[in-house]
């Protein structure tokens, strides 16, 4: 996979100037050493070799460190990482950190390299301690200025790489969001001013003291050339740093001025990346967000203007229809209001009827309850009648048995009377046969016979009466049994009547509850209908008012349409510009 063309080898290119800064500082340090230090005999070569070896080694180490801090950028350049927005944003963060990395690397390597060189030099050669310390001092004095120079030299290249990342697909707003704003311009300028002031002062003061001693010594007047060279180099570095600071600050300010001028002219939608540092970066990001917001607002204004124009056109075309529809609606609402009033009257009548029916249902329920109580009492009475009939039937049966017994007794008496009659008849006959002697006997026998016949007549009468009693008791038994059956049937009917009345009570109870609910509902309906009538009257008044407003709106619509067209034309002109 091929990498992003604009990012190829940009990692190395981004950090190359730190090497230039390092060797610039190294040149100052070597010049200072040659001019200011007193080398013991035979130690210059060793010093030179050590300076060269340490410089190369430390520079290589620092370069490796810097490149490791730019691995996403290098991956995008050589194609090992796809140019997705996340990777591009990560590369932007790495790139923005690169100048500070160079600053730290140069500061550490130059200071540490000077101290290491001094240490190794003292080990390899017989060098005075003061000389060794001055070598270390040399590194500490030159390192800050060199680091500031490396830092300032990196910023222009950082801006170039950021533009390449945007060109590779990183959205401008995403670039601003990926790199956090740091408000460090003030401390950085203070640091730069301090370093740019103190470093020459230190070096020149040390050099002046050293060379002044030598100049005051015999034959030392010709040694001012190295001092002048050293001073020139230091001033050159300070001037370079000052120029870099001015460039770093002025370039994004100029671009920001262009951007604000473009926005002032209403040229939205051409979002540009303005690379900068610290507050400049924050200001550029704020202007970008402002442009985005203005563009969005402008689009909404354009859409709103278009909608207003379209709506105004529709309103213009439909205002006549609206007016006629409002008038028709007013007429229809008048008819509906009349119907609603009729409905309200009907609802009141229904509510009144429902109230009456509810009272009737309650009366029906009370009557049904009273009927059920009566049916229960009737059932109890029928049961008592049945028991009484049954007792009568039993008594009649017992009476019939007694009558039968009496009949048998009467038959027995009748038999005796019959035999007595025969005996008296025979006695009378025998007395009659006896002639005058038996006449008295015959009279007695005749009298006995008459008695017997009287008894027989009486027994016959009794038998007849018994027969009548028997018939009567049989009829009574049958009537009693029929009465029992009738009472059974009556009790069953009474029970069914009770059950029916119980159901009637239940239904009447339900009916009463339902009627009460209906009465309540019809009352609510009546209230709702009254409210409906009032609402319909309000709606009718509102509709008439709306019709009046439609007629008045027609006169003002022309003015609105004119203003809307002017607004649409103005907005479209702005967008087009």
């Amino acid at each position: 996979m091929s990498g992003v063309p604009g990012l190829a080898k940009k990692g190395r290119w981004l950090t190359a100037l730190s090497t230039v800064a390092v060797f610039s500082g190294l040149a100052v340090a070597v010049t200072y050493a040659v001019a200011a230090l007193s080398f013991p005999p035979g130690t210059r070569l060793a010093f030179g070799v050590l300076v060269g070896a340490v410089s190369v080694a430390f520079n290589v180490a620092g370069d490796v460190f810097e490149q490791r801090r730019l691995k996403t950028l290098r991956g995008l350049g050589d194609g090992t990482i796809a140019p997705r927005p996340q990777a591009l944003a990560e590369a932007a963060r790495e790139v923005s950190r690169s100048p500070d990395t160079s600053f730290g690397v140069v500061l550490v390597l130059l200071g540490g390299g000077a101290m290491l060189t001094a240490l190794l030099w003292s080990l390899l050669s017989e060098v005075p301690r003061s000389t060794v310390l001055r070598v270390g001092f040399l590194g500490v004095a030159v390192a800050p200025l060199t680091a500031v120079m490396a830092n300032l030299m990196s910023w222009p290249r950082v801006r170039v790489v950021l533009r390449e990342l945007v060109a590779a697909g990183l959205p401008v707003d995403a670039a601003y969001a990926a790199v956090p704003a740091r408000f460090e311009l003030k401390p950085r300028l203070v640091l730069f001013a301090g370093v740019a002031t103190l470093t020459p002062l230190l070096l020149v003061a040390d050099m002046a003291v050293t060379r002044l001693g030598r100049a005051l010594s015999p034959g030392g007047a010709g040694g001012l050339v190295p001092v002048l060279v050293l001073g020139g180099l230091v001033l050159l570095m300070v001037a370079a740093c000052a120029w870099l600071v001015a460039s770093v600050l002025s370039a994004p300010l100029a671009e920001l001025a262009k951007e604000t001028d473009r926005l002032a002219r209403g040229e939205f939608g051409q979002l540009q990346l303005v690379p900068g540092e610290f507050e400049l970066w924050a200001a550029a990001g704020g202007i970008a967000l402002l442009e985005i917001e203005l563009a969005s607002t402008n689009r909404r204004v354009v859409d709103a203007a278009s909608s207003i124009v379209a709506s105004t056109g529709e309103l213009s075309s439909g205002r006549g229809e609206h007016l006629s529809a409002a008038e028709e609606q007013s007429a229809a609402l008048a008819a509906t209001t009349a119907t609603s009033e009729e409905l309200a009257r009907s609802a009141r009548q229904i509510a009144l009827n429902a109230q009456r029916v509810s009272e009737l249902a309650r009366g029906t329920l009370d009557a049904a309850r009273a009927g059920k109580h009566s049916a229960d009492a009737f059932t109890t009475a029928m049961q008592q009648v049945r028991e009484g009939n049954q007792a009568i039937a039993d008594s009649v049966v017992r009476l019939n048995k007694r009558v039968q017994q009496v009949g048998r007794i009467i038959e027995f008496i009748n038999g005796i009377a019959d035999k007595s009659d025969l005996l008296a008849l025979n006695a009378e006959l025998e007395g009659n046969k006896a002639g005058e002697v038996g006449r008295g006997f015959s009279l007695v026998a005749a009298e006995m016979r008459r008695l017997a016949e009287s008894v027989m007549q009486s027994t016959a009468e009794i038998a007849r009466l018994i027969e009548e009693i028997r018939d009567a008791t049989n009829a009574a038994v049958m009537a009693t049994e029929a009465g029992v059956k009738a009472t059974d049937a009556g009790a069953g009917l009474a029970q069914r009547v009770g059950e029916g009345l119980a159901r009637i009570v239940e239904f009447a109870n339900l009916s009463s509850d339902a009627m009460q609910s209906i009465s309540l509902a019809t009352g609510q309906q009546q209230a709702g209908t009254d409210q409906l009538v009032a609402s319909m009257a309000d709606i009718l008044n509102s509709t008439r008012a709306a019709a009046d407003a439609s007629r008045s709106m027609e006169s003002t619509h022309a003015e609105l349409l004119l203003v809307t067209k002017e607004l649409d034309a103005s907005v479209r002109t702005e967008v087009k510009a």
């Binding site: 025969l422 008849l425 025979n426 006959l429 009659n432 046969k433 002639g435 005749a446």
Partner: protein, 126 residues
Amino acid sequence: MTATDSVVEGVVLCRVGGDRLAVLAGDVVGVELPDGASPYAGRLFERVASIPADARLLRHEVAGLVVDALEVHAERLALMRVPEVMKWVVGGALMGFVQAAGSLWPVVSLPALSRHLGGQAGRARA
């Protein structure tokens, strides 16, 4: 009872349905309940009705006669003779007529009448 040519003393007045007849008290051995074998006096009057429950049997020495009711009349009664043309009626059992209890009663001989009716019954069964 003594029967002369014109007076009888002691008769038994018998009723058979709505009819009546009288027998001499001396011919009656005793009064009993019907035995089922003695003839019913109702045949004399061509009555086919059943014998009443309170019927009586006038026992004769050899036979008897069943009547519905009877009473003993001990008064002396004048016996009215039977015309010659009627002597052989009912097997010659008719002896004459007596006036008793405000009615005219035919007086018959109980043995003769029993035999006559018994013979009729035997001929009827044969």
